[in-house]
Amino acid sequence: MFKTLLKSVREYKMPSILCPLVMLGEAVMEILIPYFNTFIIGELENLSKPENYTVNTDVIILYSSLMVASAVFALICGVLGGKLAATASSGFARNLRQDMYDNIQTYSFANIDNYSTASLITRITTDVANVQMSYQMAIRMLVRAPVLFVSAIIMTVIIEPFMALIFASAAVLLGIVVFICMFKVGPHFRTMFKKYDNLNSVVQENLTAIRVVKSYVREDKEIEKMRSATGEVYKYSVKAEKILTFMMPCVTLTMFASNIIILITGANMSVGNISGNVNASDLQTLINYSVNILSGVMMVAMCLNFISLSKGSMERICEVLDEKSTLPNPVNPVKEVENGNIDFENVMFSYSNNAEEPVLSGIDLHISAGETFGIIGATGSGKTSLVSLIPRLYDVTEGSVKVGGVDVRNYDTDTLRNKVAMVLQKNVLFSGTVAENLRWGDENATDEELRFAAKQACADEFIEALPGGYDYDLGQGGVNVSGGQKQRLCIARAMLKKPKVIVFDDSTSAVDTKTDAQIRETLRKYAPETTKIIIAQRIASVQDADRILVLDDGVISGIGTHEQLLKSNAIYREVYETQMKGGDNDD
């Protein structure tokens, strides 16, 4: 897991390595400064003894200069280290986000179906922020703290090995206490995070469904729900923090206790009761170091704990990074689509391998280049699944799909999809102008080509009527145009690709029947070579197609012209009759 994540450090390796080194410099200074200070204090204390007036000014000057130099050096190291840590951790986070997003772009439809938008957003933002925090702690503290600890121990060994032993055992004791606390607190925190998610989903739900809540006058019920959610968060936060508030005094007590033991032993040593070589100013220094030693232990424990808490985040990020596209590109891809012939050969398809019933089965079908081919069927009959196989949005489970006589799995995916345009059922426009959105089809399209594509989709007139025409800003998700207009823009966008095959997946449902017919007419006229596949709810949208396919529960129920099907196919007839009664009659 760490290996996967650390791959994203890349250009920030240098600051990531330099940072701990520089911090090391700061840590050493941090140890030296109190050491130099001992001499200054020692000198001052000499001065304070009545019998001793000889002042050694040189010592004061020397050690003050050393202290100043060390402080300045530590300052430089600290500032540099801080900057390096910021650069390295922010940069690492940036690379992680980019790598995740880049990989998401290689996902197939099947991969995309695995992740909700909300979950991807959390992974890219919150989870990466957690990892950034851990990383930052690791490079700043995980080297600095042990160094502080070790060098302080070394200094105490120099003064008196026995004292070092006292400190070491205090450190071990402290380490154990901190670790036990952290170990106990971990599960509570994890539960708390879950309760927190739950709380957020209550808020989220109420934001989206506020009209339902108000319509049914359920405000109080929802407030009650929230109360229990906040109550749960409270309960587990308190459980976790209780342990933490217990831990801190334990830490300070250990520190105080070791100080007192040092004082007593030290005093006895200097009096001569215990053998050992400690004098008063040494004692002062030892007590100063105790802070370094114990805070070093604390910091390491805290860092490790934070890293272990963000393990969940790391796992979620790795999932995104490790997910491999289910549709790998072939080794020697075909880069040219010959024509718009489409063949389905004994196709069986299901979305997952362990599905009980396939979505499609026994599909044998030939569609000739230039044909207008309609598809009709109830919701869930597999219409969308069938056409998704043509631009290889999914791979067949059995059998094969060929475009221009070549198995779609042998094409370069981009080549295939550029030649097989698809107007999706759940279609989306992006923020930006009309022209920018249309140019998704062909980014080098001239204004002339844009207008031509718009004309084919019967969108030219309304676009020109918009304020600013092709430069009109559509707003996020194309909120500034109506449903029918949106669908026509999506068609124009697809037409700009000059595809060999174009698939309309129920993409004229909001367009009026007259315009709908007109679109089909212009397509016939301007794109005679292009195979046109039309999925529709309305019989009117397909009845003039060359052939119509009726799908029922994933199998072909009938193929033929409108007249043939009316005679031979019961399902088709039934749909036709309900719609005629409903009034979508085109007379």
């Binding site: 910021a86 880049d102 700043r140 004082l263 949005l393």
Partner: protein, 632 residues
């Protein structure tokens, strides 16, 4: 009403930090007066313990120093025992105040979340229209989080630091007034730097929030359209767009963190420099025999002389270090304070927003006026008067716009007699949904009146008004919970049997049976595991359970295919029987057998009549019906 304009936008600091802080403190501590008092006492004790404990080291050292091997161990033990007691007391009080503060902080956060949510539930819909979900959501996540840090860490830190500062400061003044001035001068420099660096850091942290928001928005929009990206081979473009925002975020994040990280070393090392300065200057002054210039009350008291001054200097140096510690600690909290105050101001702005009014005095009763009958209970001069609920709704010259500038409905007059089915037809933006939003008073009209059984709807208690109206909305929303819970949402007292019956009528039982656990299947994430059509069936079942006398169906069957719609026709007919129904539908098949159909265009009713009459008119409805006109 729009107090919201005073709230800082994400990315800006608080506008009135002092006021906000004061309000926050009162909010947090006023409910815990006794606990707060104890907390302050324990903080005080803990600070006092730290300071006095440390002061007893000096006598020990001095004893050892002065008498060397002949030091009196009893003096030392005496002091050690004192230190041990003080430290123990200090640790206990630090434990106590942390515990108390933890309860206060967590309790306050809980109270705050509850109150925010309760407040939010009663805000008018306009509020939700003018704030994005993302912004509101971040009140509960980011802003509350900053509050947690402020309450549980920063505030106790500041209290304890302030106390330590006061203690140490008075000692320092007592020991040497002049040197204290020197220390203060350097502290002033430090504070200046802290304000500068910390301020910059806070600025970039706030900017980081903005960059993060932008990135968030980008991922959201692009991921929603991820399939379009695939179909158009637009992956590379999407990556580049992401890279741009990602780099921007990296830049702000790097700067914010860099400033935050250098604050520590800067203050820490400055305090060393300060220490050396005090030591050297003090030393020079004392050796030059100018000790009196240090204005030390302590030395005057002790009798003066170089030795006494030197001893004083050693203690003074120790105090200097103790003084710097809290300054550094508080400076580390600078960002937290800035962020928390900005967050608190946003939270308070939401809480301060005027809630929806409660409506009038008229209430809804069931079975009071006559058995099994709904009636309005209207207060009159002496007691009450009952008006039976019939479902007679009239619009008289209603004018409405979501903003004052843009009128959506122009002088609409219409009536729905009891048990009638009234349909609205027209293109997007014509005002169909708006009309239904006015009946349940989601929005209030600018002029004209709407009456319900002869009563002005403004005179009816809002909750009761809404209780009388069953609605199936255009966008179906479900709640986390079982399928059964979701159906029961319509009427909490409905039995399992009633819910199942409603589901059957809505033809939803068919797919529910196929769910892994039938009616007990858990619905999550707004019913993400159900199709749009299935969700609409559940919403219809929910409305059926509610048994409201008046129904509003807003595109209730738009995502149900024509065959399934036919299957639930029977159920819908039963649902509508005996009720006044307002129906908005895209498919004309759904509305054709209404008593009256209103064709809306640009906020006006341009045609009205039943299906046959309208066809005869050969107007817009006729065009729609024949498919010659586009419906959105």
């Amino acid at each position: 009403m729009t107090k919201t304009t005073h709230a800082p936008k994400i990315g800006k600091g608080a506008k009135t930090p002092i006021k906000t802080l004061a309000r926050l403190l009162i909010y947090a501590f006023s409910g815990y007066k006794v606990a707060t008092a104890f907390m302050v006492i324990f903080v005080l004790m803990s600070s006092a313990a730290t300071v006095t404990g440390a002061s007893r080291f000096a006598p020990i050292i001095a004893e050892l120093m002065n008498n060397g091997a002949n030091a009196d161990l009893n003096v030392i033990y005496g002091n050690v025992i004192f230190i041990a007691c003080v430290y123990l007391a200090g640790a206990l009080s630090s434990f106590a105040y942390n515990r108390i503060m933890m309860y206060i902080a967590q309790g306050t956060l809980r109270k705050m979340r509850d109150e925010m949510f309760a407040k939010m539930q009663y805000l008018p819909l306009r509020y939700f229209d003018s704030h994005t979900h993302g912004d509101l959501m971040s009140l509960y996540t980011n802003d509350i989080d900053t509050m947690r840090q402020l309450l549980s860490q920063t505030i106790p830190q500041i209290i304890s630091s302030a106390l330590t500062l006061v203690f140490v400061f008075s000692f320092m003044v007592y020991y040497s007034f002049t040197l204290t001035l020197l220390v203060m001068a350097i502290i002033a420099v430090m504070v200046f730097l802290i304000k500068n660096i910390g301020g910059k850091s806070a600025k970039f942290f706030l900017r980081q929030q903005v960059s993060m928001g932008k990135l968030n928005g980008y991922v959201e929009e692009m991921t929603e359209g991820q399939k379009v990206i695939k179909v158009f081979c637009h992956e590379q473009k999407a990556r580049e767009g992401f890279r741009k925002l990602n780099d921007e975020l990296n830049e702000t994040s790097r700067k914010a963190n860099a400033y935050a990280f250098i604050l520590g070393p800067v203050t820490n090392n400055l305090s060393y420099l300060q220490y050396v300065m005090v030591a050297v200057i003090g030393f020079v002054v004392i050796v030059s025999g100018l000790g009196d210039g240090l204005l030390s009350s302590f030395c005057v008291f002790e009798g003066g002389g170089v030795a006494v001054y030197a001893g004083m200097l050693v203690s003074f140096l120790a105090f200097t270090r103790q003084f710097n510690m809290p300054v550094q600690q508080v400076s580390q909290q600078f960002n937290a304070i800035v962020m928390a105050l900005a967050g608190a101001e946003r939270i308070f702005a939401m809480v301060d927003t005027e809630p929806e009014d409660k409506g009038g005095e008229v209430t809804l009763t069931f079975g009071e006026y006559a058995e099994n009958e709904w009636a309005w209970k209207k207060p009159v001069d002496n007691g009450f008067e009952y008006v039976p609920l019939k479902g007679d709704i009239r619009f008289n010259d209603v004018v409405f716009g979501y903003t004052d500038e843009k009128v959506i409905l122009k002088n609409i007059s219409l009536y729905a007699k009891p048990h009638q089915k009234i349909a609205f037809v027209g293109s997007t933006g014509a005002g169909k949904t708006t009309i239904t939003n006015l009946i349940n008073r989601f929005y209030d009209i600018q002029s004209g009146t709407i009456t319900y059984d002869g009563l002005d709807i403004k005179s009816i208690n809002k909750d009761d008004l809404r209780r009388s109206l069953g609605v199936v909305l255009q966008d179906t929303h479900l709640f986390t919970g079982t399928v059964m819970d979701n159906i029961r949402y319509g009427r909490l007292s409905a039995t399992d049997e009633e819910c199942k019956k409603a589901a059957k009528l809505a033809n939803a039982n068919f797919f529910i049976k196929h769910l892994p656990e039938g009616y007990n299947t858990l619905i999550k994430g707004d019913g993400a595991n159900l199709s749009q059509g299935q969700r609409q069936l559940l919403a219809i079942a929910r409305a059926m359970v509610s048994e409201c006398p008046v129904l509003i169906l807003d595109e209730a069957t738009s995502s149900i295919d024509t065959r399934t719609e036919k299957l639930i026709e029977e159920g819908l007919a039963q649902l509508m029987y005996g009720r006044t129904v307002f129906i908005i539908a895209h498919r004309l098949s759904t509305v054709r057998n209404s008593h009256a159909i209103m064709v809306l265009d640009h906020g006006e009713i341009i045609e009205r009549g039943n299906h046959e009459q309208l066809l005869e008119q050969k107007g817009k409805y006729y065009q729609l019906y024949t498919g010659a006109f586009e419906l959105d």
